[in-house]
């Protein structure tokens, strides 16, 4: 299987031979930043297009068909429109916080994005408490949403922000518990190692019942974290017009929009990393020939395939269910998901200690 570390070390060696150490490191940082941002945007565009087509399929429609072949240029047209729109300054708004908010949101999702292991060796941030880092980085996006609602000087935005505060902080808990369950199973918090161990079987199979429960809770909490239906209360269109981003126009809104989509990608990416083996190919013990063949498929294809499968799952949920009410959202979290998650953690620990895992 192709290991990207060979390529990265080659580039590293080349830069060090041509440049002084500090300049080499600086160039590498710049290169990495450019790659991450480029990948971020490409995935955002792919996902916005995918959402339109998937949604159309669920609703017996065709989706965009006019701009470009099969409507592929639709998203580019949208982005262009968004870029040339006027950015409105709201009276009585808190200018600094108002302008800062979308950047906080996008920053949080960018940092989390760089932790994803796209393939063996193709990972920007990887250290021994990677899982903790992902959780910490992803949770400060909520700050941007709260600030957006607070600084817009709009009562609808304010209610939307308060809802998202209550919801996202609550669901962070279930998410943490699910991740912890998997950490217990894998015995490490380093992302690359978690994936590495899954080359001998994906965790959702090896952890059997507790892993499947954790996966289901994770998908529910992930939907809530990304503010997507049935948990789209912070921006509930029919109640609060657009919730926390009501007052944003042009790219201010664009950043929230992109961040929402990329958060979905990140949630799905983490799901595929922790539960479905990340870039690890399908492994069935005993079928050596089959495993060999699976290894010929590149890791990045495995990772993106699994991630987009989870994304498709989330889109299916979104375009099927009606929205929940804020008290029901909190009841679901605190009365059902958290206790089940805790119990599940206990079960998983027992399974691991007793060696009841595959």
């Amino acid at each position: 299987m192709l290991d990207f570390t060979t390529i990265t070390t080659a580039i590293d060696r080349f830069l060090h031979s041509a440049l002084p150490d500090w300049a080499a490191t600086l160039t590498e940082c710049a290169l990495v930043a450019v790659c991450v941002i480029a990948a971020y945007l490409v995935f955002a565009i792919v996902m916005i297009f995918m959402e339109r087509k998937v949604c159309a399929a669920f609703q017996c429609r065709l989706g965009p068909t006019r701009v470009g072949f099969w409507g592929v240029l639709q998203v580019f047209a949208d982005v262009f429109k968004m870029l040339i729109k006027e950015i409105i300054e709201i009276k009585d708004s808190d200018r600094i916080l108002y302008n800062l908010a979308p950047f906080l949101v996008i920053m949080s999702s960018l940092i989390t994005f760089s932790c994803l292991p796209f393939a063996e060796g193709l990972q920007v941030l990887d250290f021994n408490i990677g899982v903790f880092f992902i959780m910490a980085a992803s949770s400060f996006g909520i700050l941007g949403i709260l600030l957006a609602g607070w600084s817009s000087s709009n009562k609808f935005s304010m209610i939307g922000a308060m809802r998202s505060g209550g919801q996202m902080i609550s669901y962070e808990l279930s998410m943490g518990l699910c991740i912890l369950t998997l950490v217990v199973l894998s015995g490490t918090m380093q992302i690359s190692e978690i994936v590495e161990t899954q080359t001998r079987g994906w965790f959702i199979i090896r952890g059997h019942i507790p892993a499947i429960i954790a996966f289901i809770i994770y998908i529910i909490a992930g939907n809530a974290e990304t503010n997507r239906a049935p948990f789209d209360l912070p921006e509930a269109e029919s109640e609060l017009t657009a919730g926390f981003h009501t007052e944003y126009s042009g790219m201010g809104f664009g950043l929230f929009y992109v961040a929402e989509f990329m958060n979905m990608f990140i949630i799905s990416g983490i799901a595929s990393t922790l539960f479905l083996g990340g870039w690890a190919p399908l492994y069935i013990p005993g079928l050596e020939g089959f495993n060999e063949a699976m290894c010929w498929i590149p890791g990045i294809v495995w990772f993106l395939g699994k991630t987009f499968f989870v994304i498709w799952l989330m889109m299916w949920i979104r375009w099927t269910f009606p929205r929940m009410r804020i008290d029901q959202v909190l009841v679901l979290e605190w009365k059902y998901l958290v206790p089940i998650g805790l119990l599940n953690l206990l079960i998983m620990t027992i399974c691991v200690v007793m060696g009841w895992t595959f």
Partner: protein, 521 residues
């Protein structure tokens, strides 16, 4: 229609007596200006179990300071009706808890439906500045022998220290330009104040200067989702007054078109409820089938939303040759599709949790508010005009009146979906037997109604739609009043929305299924 005039001194006593005799449903209240005889109001009361009606009227000769005792404590709906009469005629209802204008701006001068009203622009120029909310915050109660100028400020509707937000007039979930002023405590709604009039066009006033055939055009623009039924009611009222018999073919066509319109409206209600609750796929499902109804309508009438189909003495044009087969194909398809709605939305656990027990309207309240149609039937009130006072072909077809007893948002949706099945049943009974005959009876070029008062009602898509005409023998009506289907619904909404969450407010609004142009007229 025979009206009994009651002396103003005995008015409250008589009304209380009628209420005790079981007249629990105020069907209609009509403000009147009888020129020299003074100003007054006509009340049509009905016994909700025996369907027996009485028509009463009260008037006062004092044009400067007209005052009539309120009955808003006897029938809940009278509260809004009396505000409407006050707005249009300036009659002050003593003892009314909230004597504000209902439709017009608070700084409007004069009362436009009075016969001595001066419509010149010098008095009421087009005001470009917003209405001050200061005035809107107060509530006025009028005591007897006191004029509105000396009224006592009783309490304020909304205080400035409350978290007040406006839902509407421009809001995705109000289904038109209705405005709710909400006082919130966190997510909870403490108080609702409904402000109407954003699409008020003065249709009743306009009708007074139009000939009878000209007035027909307005009815389609009231509740645009009951365009056929509205126009049916007006045509029926005029035909009854003229003593004109329409052919059986016309009755068949009118009944079928009414039912198609009802299906169209109920499908829209299902779709919009789903969309308001965030289930956009269900919304598209509903609209997919509604499109087919509209196609049939377009083929027959030429219009999709506003059809202008009924005319005095018949219908505008005969049905097309392929009509029957298309309707039958549609009916067969719709019955299959209904199951999909249940699968994806109605039986969904999230929807059930959000609608069962939300916005419960008790049977007593439903009758007192006069909330007819699907809303009333969801509360267990058998209020279908098609059964109560059969008209057209409804006396001869076999159909069930759908009743539920929950009174909540869930039952209100179920009633509509089950009514679609009933409507399909009615259509299927009629579609193969449309008799041959004229599709319209010739009328004189100028239609004059005999002197008198006439009332006709049909079952609109969302309740009882009534037309009242007072004729003085001219070619134009002296007074024409339409019973709004939506006004009782929003009156009830004001009560059941209290104490719910913002999200529930949207659910309740969508499940009541009001249409604003019908409220504002």
């Amino acid at each position: 229609m025979e009206i009994t005039f009651i002396d103003i001194k005995e008015f409250r006593q008589t009304m209380l007596q009628h209420r005790e005799n079981g007249m629990d449903f105020m069907r209609e209240m009509i403000g009147m200006d009888w020129n020299k005889e003074g100003l007054g109001a006509i009340y049509i009361l009905e016994n909700s179990s025996t369907h027996e009606c009485v028509e009463l009227a009260v008037r006062t000769a004092n044009r400067e300071k007209p005052q009539i005792p309120t009955v808003s404590d006897i029938w809940h709906i009278a509260e809004l009706y009396e505000r409407e009469v006050y707005d249009f005629y300036g009659i002050e209802f003593t003892g009314h808890p909230d004597m504000r204008r209902l439709y017009l701006r608070n700084d409007w001068v004069g009362h436009p439906l009075r016969k001595d009203y001066d419509p010149s622009e010098a008095i009421n120029p087009i005001r470009l500045e917003s209405e001050t909310d200061e005035e809107a915050h107060r509530v006025y109660e009028i005591e007897e022998d006191k004029h509105l100028a000396e009224m006592v400020e009783k309490l304020k509707i909304l205080h400035y220290d409350q978290y007040v937000i406006n839902i509407g007039p421009q809001h995705p979930a109000t289904h038109g330009v209705l405005r709710f002023r909400l006082s919130l405590e966190g997510e909870e709604v403490r108080k609702v104040d409904i402000r109407c009039g954003y699409i008020h066009r003065g249709i009743e006033k306009l009708c007074e200067s139009k000939t009878y055939p000209q007035t027909l055009a307005f009815t389609d623009r009231l509740d645009y989702l009951s365009a056929h039924q509205n126009r049916h009611a007006l045509c029926m009222c005029i035909e009854n007054a003229m003593g004109l018999e329409v052919t059986e073919r016309v009755q068949y066509i009118r009944t079928i078109m009414d039912e198609l319109q009802r299906i169209d409206s109920h499908l829209l209600m299902f779709s919009c409820l789903a969309m308001d609750m965030g289930a956009i796929t269900s919304f598209i499902y509903g609209f997919r089938e509604r499109e087919k109804v509209l196609d049939i309508m377009e083929e027959v009438t030429g219009g999709r939303l506003i059809q202008n189909y009924n005319i005095i003495g018949g219908v505008q044009a005969d049905i097309t040759p392929g009509f029957a087969s298309k309707v039958k194909a549609y009916c067969a398809d719709q019955k299959k599709r209904l199951k999909e709605y249940y699968d994806i939305f109605v039986n969904n656990v999230i929807f059930r949790n959000r609608s069962i027990g939300v916005g419960v309207l008790s049977l007593k309240d439903a009758i007192s508010f006069g909330a007819t149609g699907g809303t009333g039937r969801a509360s267990g009130w058998a209020c279908d005009v098609r059964k109560r006072h059969p008209y057209a072909m409804y006396g001869k077809v076999d159909f069930k009146e759908i009743l539920h007893t929950g009174g909540d948002s869930y039952c209100r949706l179920l009633v509509r979906l089950e009514e679609i099945v009933e409507s399909i049943g009615i259509i299927e009974q009629l579609i193969d037997n449309i008799p041959e005959g004229e599709y319209k009876t010739k009328t004189k070029p100028i239609i004059k109604l005999p002197e008198g008062r006439f009332f006709a009602a049909v079952e609109g898509s969302r309740g009882e739609f009534g037309v009242f005409i007072e004729s003085h023998g001219d070619k134009t009506p002296y007074r024409m009043k339409f019973r709004p289907m939506g006004l009782p619904l929003i009156a009830a909404a004001q009560k059941i929305m209290k104490g719910c969450k913002i999200a529930d407010l949207i659910t309740i609004g969508a499940s009541l299924d009001y249409v604003i142009p019908d409220i504002d007229r």
